[in-house]
């Protein structure tokens, strides 16, 4: 796939799914500690999300970096908008900002305690 085609594919994926996590491995078997942390946080929040394993497709692994202009994986998208990588997601979660973002975007999640 050309970079343009990959970007189109990613654009569609983040448009068609409220919450998308580009990660190494999948939500049941993360293959990187950073991806695993985000899976844990989303799991804790009981958020329904689509996981996309970048290890299965080199063009997506590279394409998501240029699409988001962000150099690392995982990458979390909510309602088509790039939220951040592992550090940002964790900081937002700890500050209650991730829960607030999900509320603002109308995405269902479990009531949360701060103990993930």
């Amino acid at each position: 796939m050309s970079e343009q085609a990959v970007h189109d594919w990613i654009r569609k994926a983040v448009a068609n799914n409220d919450v998308v996590l580009f990660m190494k491995g999948n939500k049941n078997f993360p293959q990187c500690g950073f991806s695993a942390q985000v899976v844990q946080i989303l799991g804790h929040l009981g958020v329904d999300y689509k996981d996309i394993n970048v290890l299965e497709d080199m063009s997506i692994r590279d394409g998501i970096k240029t699409f988001s202009q962000w150099p690392t994986i995982p990458q979390l998208y909510v309602k088509g908008e790039f939220v951040g990588g592992c550090d940002i997601v964790r900081e937002m979660f700890q500050a209650g900002e991730l829960q607030q973002l999900l509320d603002d975007k109308g995405i269902a999640h479990a009531p949360s305690t701060m103990t993930a």
Binding site: Q69, P71, G84, G85, C86, D87, I88, E91, M92
Partner: protein
Amino acid sequence: MPMDAQDIERLIKAAFPGAEVTITDLAGDGDHFAAHVVAGAFAGKTRLQQHKMVYDALQGRMGGALHALALTTAAPKD
């Protein structure tokens, strides 16, 4: 080629003069670091923008030579 803590600190300080930069070698293997950066340039920026500024300072090494950098950023408190 892995980076050492001094390289990371030097690149970040070059981009943010006067910044307070704390690098921790998490695993002692020269490959997994944590960085805490407090810089005036972060004032008024979102967390996403702040992290991106640090990644830019690392000039493409993030995700390449630098596999693991757990990053926290803040603007200085008055």
